[in-house]
C-alpha cells in the first residue's frame, strides 16, 4: 500500500488590515461629529444638554481600540442628545398648544404662565393669564393673556 501523504494545512490569514479599519473608524467619527454639530445648532437656544465626549489625552495617534471606543462614545452622545431633544420638542409643542388654548379661553387657564424657555425660544418673553383690572376682573371673570415685552 502506498504511503498517504497529506497536503500541508491550508493557512488562513486572520490578521486584519488595521490601517483600513482605522480609516473606516475615522470616517465614522467624522460622520458622527457632523451629526453632533447639526444637533448642537438645532438645540440652540435650549440649555442643559451634555455635549462632552471624553478626550483621549491627545494630540496623539490613536490605536484601533481607542478609535472604536471614541466612535462608540460619540454614537452614544448623539443618541442621548437626539433622545433628549425629541423629548423636549414634544413638551414644547404641548406648551405651544397650551398657549393657543390660553389665548382662546383665558378664564379657563387662570394664572397659568408659559415662558419662552418652555417653548424652546430665545428671550424672556412669557404668556400669562391674568385678570383685567386686577381684583375687579377676578370678581367679574374678565381674564386675558398678557404677553410680556421681553427681557428687562
Amino acid at each position: 500500500m502506498s504511503e498517504l501523504t497529506l497536503a500541508p494545512p491550508l493557512r488562513i490569514s486572520t490578521g486584519i488590515d488595521e490601517a483600513a479599519a482605522r480609516r473606516t473608524l475615522r470616517a465614522q467619527i467624522a460622520k458622527l461629529e457632523r451629526e453632533l454639530a447639526e444637533l448642537f445648532t438645532r438645540a440652540y437656544p435650549r440649555k442643559g444638554f451634555d455635549w462632552s465626549v471624553a478626550s483621549r489625552s491627545g494630540p496623539r495617534l490613536l490605536g484601533l481600540q481607542e478609535l472604536e471606543e471614541l466612535r462608540d462614545d460619540l454614537a452614544g452622545r448623539v443618541e442621548d442628545v437626539r433622545h433628549e431633544l425629541r423629548g423636549r420638542n414634544q413638551v414644547e409643542q404641548a406648551n405651544i398648544r397650551l398657549i393657543d388654548r390660553m389665548v382662546a379661553d383665558p378664564a379657563s387657564y387662570r394664572w397659568v404662565q408659559v415662558s419662552a424657555d418652555d417653548v424652546g425660544a430665545r428671550g424672556c418673553k412669557y404668556w400669562h393669564s391674568l385678570p383685567k383690572l386686577g381684583i375687579v376682573g377676578m370678581l367679574m371673570g374678565w381674564w386675558r393673556v398678557k404677553i410680556s415685552s421681553g427681557c428687562p
Binding site: 467619527i29 457632523r34 478626550s55 489625552s57 471614541l70
Partner: protein, 219 residues
C-alpha cells in the same frame, strides 16, 4: 498637488502620521515680526472684525466646512474640541467672553484677524528656538518639548511640530517656553496646519493675510 505659493515652505510629515493622516500638511513662512503694541489701523481692523463676529456665528461655526474639518481632526487625534477648542473656536469664544477682540500686540492681532477670516489654524513660533526646517512627526518615547528642561513628558504617540533636533510644540497646544513669541522676538515661523477638508488655498491665504498684516507694521 499644487505648488505652494511664494515664500511658503511645506514641512515634511513623517511616518506614521503621514499614512494615518494623508491630508495633513504643515505650511509655513519665516518672517520678521514684532509683538509690540499694534498700530492704530491694526487695532481698528481688529475692532471691525469684532463687530462682525456675533453669537450666531459662534453657534453655527461648527457647521462651517473648515471649522468642522478641524473639529473632526481634533477627534481623530484624541482631543475633545469642546474641552480643547480648535483655534477659530477658541478665538471666537474669547471674543464672546470679553465682548471684543482685545488688542494684544502686532503678532497676536494679526493671527487673530487671519484665523477669524479664514478659519485656518495658524501658529507662530520664535525662530530663536528653531534649528533647521519644521516638520510634523510622532514623538519618541519619553521625549519632552524643547530642550526638555522643566517641560512635561509627551504622551506616547504624541504628534508634534519639530525642528531638526527637538519637538517645538504639540500639533495643537502650548509650545515649549523658548518657542513662545515674547517681547524680544524679532523673527517668527508662521505655521498653518492643514487637515482633511481644509483647502490648500485657504491655508495659503491665511498665511498671506497674517504675513501681510505683520509686514505692513514693519514698513
Amino acid at each position: 498637488m499644487n505648488e505652494p505659493g511664494p515664500n511658503v515652505l511645506t514641512g515634511r510629515i513623517a511616518e506614521p502620521a503621514a499614512s494615518e493622516f494623508p491630508a495633513l500638511k504643515l505650511r509655513y513662512r519665516v518672517l520678521d515680526a514684532s509683538t509690540h503694541r499694534s498700530p492704530k489701523y491694526l487695532r481698528k481692523q481688529l475692532k471691525h472684525i469684532s463687530n462682525r463676529m456675533v453669537g450666531e456665528r459662534a453657534i453655527n461655526l461648527r457647521r462651517e466646512p473648515i471649522a468642522h474639518a478641524y473639529r473632526v481632526f481634533f477627534r481623530h487625534i484624541g482631543l475633545d474640541p469642546d474641552e480643547t477648542p480648535t483655534p477659530v473656536e477658541s478665538v471666537l469664544a474669547e471674543r464672546l467672553r470679553a465682548g471684543r477682540f482685545a488688542s494684544a500686540g502686532i503678532l497676536v492681532d494679526a493671527l487673530t484677524i487671519a484665523i477669524v477670516e479664514s478659519g485656518v489654524a495658524l501658529r507662530a513660533f520664535d525662530t530663536q528656538a528653531i534649528e533647521g526646517e519644521l516638520w510634523i512627526r510622532v514623538a519618541s518615547q519619553g521625549e519632552r518639548l524643547g530642550d526638555g528642561r522643566g517641560e512635561p513628558e509627551l504622551p506616547d504617540g504624541a504628534i508634534v511640530i519639530a525642528d531638526q533636533h527637538k519637538a517645538i510644540a504639540p500639533i495643537f497646544g502650548d509650545p515649549a517656553d523658548r518657542a513662545l513669541p515674547s517681547r524680544s522676538t524679532s523673527r517668527v515661523a508662521l505655521c498653518a496646519i492643514e487637515v482633511a477638508g481644509v483647502p490648500q488655498i485657504a491655508s495659503e491665504e491665511a498665511l498671506w493675510k497674517c504675513a501681510t498684516l505683520i509686514e505692513q507694521t514693519l514698513e
